[in-house]
C-alpha cells in the first residue's frame, strides 16, 4: 500500500514524532511512504530523526517556496519541489493523512 502524509507544523509539535513513528511502522510493514512538507512543516528537515526517514526508504518532498521564505537550507535526499509534487502524492497514494 502507498501512504501519503502532509505535515504543516514545525518540529516542536507532537505531529512530528507521530509522523516519524507512523512512517517507520509503515516501512517496517513494507508499505511505501511519501511525505510532503509545507508551511511551517518545512522546518522538519532540520530535525535529525525526521531527515533519517530517507534512509528508511521514505520519500520526502518539501515546498521550495515555503522553504525559501523560511531560509531552510537544502538537505541531501529530500526533494525541494513544488505543490505539483504534493498533487502527485495525493493523486497516487492509497491512503492520505494530514497533520496540521
Amino acid at each position: 500500500m502507498k501512504l501519503g502524509i502532509l505535515l504543516t507544523t514545525s518540529p516542536e509539535n507532537e505531529n512530528t514524532n507521530t509522523v516519524i513513528e507512523i512512517s517507520k511502522a509503515a516501512r517496517d510493514e513494507g508499505h511505501e511512504v511519501s511525505i510532503f512538507l509545507m508551511y511551517d512543516g518545512v522546518y522538519n528537515v532540520n530535525k535529525k530523526e525526521f531527515a533519517e526517514l530517507v534512509d528508511k526508504g521514505v520519500d520526502i518532498a518539501i515546498c521550495a517556496l515555503n522553504a525559501e521564505q523560511r531560509k531552510v537550507a537544502k538537505v541531501d535526499g529530500i526533494l525541494f519541489g513544488s505543490q505539483y509534487d504534493h498533487a502527485c502524492i495525493a493523486s497516487d497514494v492509497d491512503r492520505f493523512i494530514s497533520f496540521g
Binding site: 504543516t8 513544488s82 505543490q83 493523486s91 494530514s98
Partner: protein, 114 residues
C-alpha cells in the same frame, strides 16, 4: 480522479495558514483531481469581502480567482456564518447547510483540515 476537500477553519488575520490552504488547493488541481474548499467556524471570515490590503496584509483575490477559474467548489458553512452574524460573502463562494458539507466530506477520498 479523486475528490479532495480542504477545510479552512482559522481566522484570516492572525495566520498565513488560510492563504496557504488556498494556494495548496490550487496546486492539488494539477493532477486533475476534483478539489472543494470548505470555509467553516472562524474560517468563514475569510469568505467575506474583506480588504486585507488596508492593513498591508496580502489579498487572497488571486487564489479565489484561480480556484473559481479552475471550477473548484468553494462552500461556506451557513451555521458558522449565522453564529457570527455574517450575511455577506464573496460571490464565488456558496453558502450551504451543514448536511451538504457532511455529504461533501464523507464522499471525499481525501480531507485536509488546514
Amino acid at each position: 480522479m479523486k475528490k479532495i476537500t480542504v477545510i479552512v477553519r482559522n481566522l484570516p488575520f492572525n495566520t498565513r495558514r488560510n492563504a496557504e490552504a488556498l494556494r495548496m488547493s490550487v496546486g492539488l488541481t494539477l493532477r486533475e483531481d476534483k478539489v472543494t474548499v470548505i470555509f467553516m467556524d472562524d474560517g468563514v471570515y475569510t469568505a467575506t469581502p474583506i480588504k486585507p490590503e488596508i492593513i498591508h496584509f496580502a489579498s487572497l483575490d488571486r487564489e479565489f480567482g484561480a480556484l473559481a477559474m479552475l471550477k473548484c467548489r468553494m462552500l461556506a458553512d451557513k451555521s458558522s456564518m449565522e453564529n457570527r452574524g455574517i450575511s455577506d460573502i464573496i460571490d464565488k463562494i456558496q453558502p450551504v447547510e451543514r448536511e451538504e458539507l457532511v455529504r461533501t466530506i464523507t464522499e471525499s477520498d481525501i480531507v485536509i483540515p488546514f
